[in-house]
């Protein structure tokens, strides 16, 4: 008896949300929130810095959101949850008179354009030109950046894999990739707009 997970009920966020809205049954909301707990907990850790505070926040949010949902028009639960959870953590910080952290920025939710420069998704027509630019720009990168970028994006290695394969420090790998991406973006854009 193999497990065919494709046949299991994997309701989408929208589906669960709709069920919850029509029935009010917490089982639906519970299941929806359940899948976001890792993200919400991590987010709260980032802002609140203490595991206990983050755990409290996750539970408070669960209670609050269950009732709040009825009052909001929610197009994407994920996006909504992100901003609500973030604001909740910021409020907790404010109450505790900790230092203020940057406000929620809608822009930040947009996917980073840099990332798409490294994918040729939807670039079929200009593939040749783009590949050429990518190729030239890769060559221009400092070696550690080039190696890290290649291994991460093309060989689909994780940071730890890259560190293992190259002998670089894990932290260095991350910054090589970050800086390499920035350099690539600048380089590719200037070539393509020429």
């Amino acid at each position: 008896m193999g497990i065919d997970s494709a046949t299991l009920w994997h309701p989408g966020d929208d589906e669960l949300l709709a069920y919850y809205r029509t029935t009010g049954d917490m089982a639906y909301f519970g299941r929806l929130y359940h899948r976001y707990i890792p993200l919400v907990y991590g987010l709260c850790l980032k802002y609140l810095k203490h595991p206990e505070d983050a755990e409290d926040a996750v539970m408070q949010l669960y209670e609050e959101l269950a009732s709040k949902i009825a009052l909001y028009e929610i197009r994407s639960f994920r996006t909504w949850l992100y901003s609500v959870a973030k604001n909740h953590c910021l409020q907790v910080l404010r109450k505790e008179k900790h230092e203020m952290i940057v406000e929620f920025d809608e822009q930040f939710m947009e996917s980073h354009p840099v990332d798409h420069l490294l994918l040729n998704e939807g670039r079929e027509e200009q593939n040749g030109e783009w590949l050429e630019a990518l190729h030239r720009c890769m060559e221009k990168l400092p070696e550690p950046q080039r190696i890290s970028i290649r291994k991460f994006f093309l060989d689909e290695m994780s940071y730890a894999d890259v560190a293992n394969a190259t002998g670089y420090q894990l932290k260095s790998v991350k910054s090589y990739i970050q800086n390499g991406k920035r350099n690539l973006k600048i380089c590719i854009e200037s070539r393509m707009n020429r």
């Binding site: 299991l8 966020d13 009010g24 519970g30 359940h34 991590g42 009052l71 730890a160 894999d161």
Partner: protein
């Protein structure tokens, strides 16, 4: 921005230190474009602690609070308020929304507390284990044991919990009822009944918040705080148990109560432990746990092969699916005995007719066995008797 829920769940292995390979890469890759995930990852990396355990704790707590049939009070208060404000318009809106209600089937199946098990009667894993091993230890003849097992386990069931409630749900599936020629209740394979069970980890600790779903259907329930669950399913249904950090396990829904001991999702263990009331192996950590997975289950001593769904259920399967032969064999009465081994895929193999009744009846008996469930291998051949 639309992501499958799986991608979030896979944060856990990463947090537990699985930082290599494609999965880890995918997570890191997504966090480059996904602010939510990026923030979460930053949190995990900047604050020391056992985050995986904290997440599991939280998920358990949330699942425990989200039992079906519980409602957020303020949610309804909000609706009431908006109704007051909007008056007739609000009513109209509400009426318009009604058709969107999920099918009745889902609501029913999601209710975990339909028939709460009295605490005094609540089965505990060791207790069940004891009873069960007592029942099934001597196995001189499969058929005989099956009979005894059936009777005694019914007794135990009675002691443990109220009798299973058979509900004829008002949905398209129960239409089989009307077309059934005999109208005999036992022949309605599609009819749903209440299944009750307990989900634990390998050590017998309850796993609240485990999800139980009927395969191929939209029914799902969470196990409650004590790891107990109740759901409705047809006998022929396959129920899949899943829980974060554990392997999915699936089993037939034809036994109740079901004891499910889930295995942690560590790489080394590639099998699933499933226990249902009515099947039993010994010498496992909990006593009540049978390991039904991998190519075969090795048992010491002389062992007869066992149908994975349990003997009682297997006998029921034979009764329900047996088609009486027509033609030359029409109306014959008697038994067919088939002997067979179980191959490495747990399928019956090398079927021979040990006691023949009539060619068509013999063929029907062989068909039932070859089309039936998988078998746990034994050291001897199995014999199955089909009555006509």
């Amino acid at each position: 921005m639309h992501r499958k829920p799986d991608e979030q769940i896979k944060i856990l292995p990463y947090l537990r230190g699985k930082r290599k390979g494609k999965e880890a890469h995918r997570l890191e890759r997504i966090s480059m474009t996904d602010a939510f995930l990026a923030d979460a990852m930053e949190g995990f990396e900047t604050v020391p602690g056992d985050h995986a355990s904290a997440i599991k704790r939280l998920q358990t707590a949330v699942a425990g609070k989200s039992r079906s049939g519980t409602y957020a009070v303020r949610y309804w208060a909000a609706i009431a308020a908006s109704l007051l404000l909007l008056g007739g318009a609000g009513l109209l809106l509400l009426r318009k929304e009604t058709p969107e209600l999920p099918p009745q089937e889902n609501i029913l199946a999601d209710r975990t507390e339909l028939f709460p098990i009295d605490d005094a009667k609540k089965p505990s894993a060791p207790e069940l284990a004891e009873n069960r091993s007592a029942v099934l230890k001597p196995e001189p003849d499969m058929q005989e044991t099956a009979e005894t097992a059936a009777v005694i386990s019914e007794e135990i069931q009675d002691r443990l919990a109220p009798p299973a409630v058979i509900t004829v749900a008002e949905n398209e599936k129960s239409s089989a009822v009307d077309t059934s020629p005999s109208g005999d209740i036992r022949h309605m394979a599609e009819m749903k009944h209440l299944i009750r069970g307990l989900v634990t980890d390998e050590s017998g600790q309850p796993l609240p918040g485990a999800t139980l779903q009927v395969k191929d259907a939209h029914n799902g329930v969470f196990a409650d705080r004590e790891g107990r669950f109740e759901m409705e399913a047809a006998d022929s249904a396959v129920i899949v148990a899943s829980f974060v950090g554990y392997r999915n396990s699936e089993f037939k829904a034809d036994t109740s109560p079901l004891l499910i001991a889930m295995q942690e999702n560590s790489e080394a263990l590639d099998e699933v432990v499933v226990v249902a009331f009515g099947r039993q192996k010994k010498q496992s950590p909990v006593g009540a746990v049978a390991t039904v997975a991998g190519p075969a289950t090795e048992e010491t001593a002389e062992k007869l092969p066992q149908p994975v769904i349990g003997k009682k259920a297997y006998r029921r399967y034979l009764e329900r699916h047996r088609v009486r032969p027509g033609g030359a064999c029409a109306g014959v009465k008697g038994e067919v005995v088939i002997r067979f081994g179980v191959d490495e895929n747990r399928r019956p193999a090398g079927l021979t007719v040990e006691q023949s009744l009539c060619p068509d009846a013999d063929r029907e008996a062989m068909r039932l066995i070859t089309e039936g469930c998988d078998w746990v291998r034994g050291t001897k051949d199995a014999t199955v008797t089909v009555k006509f």
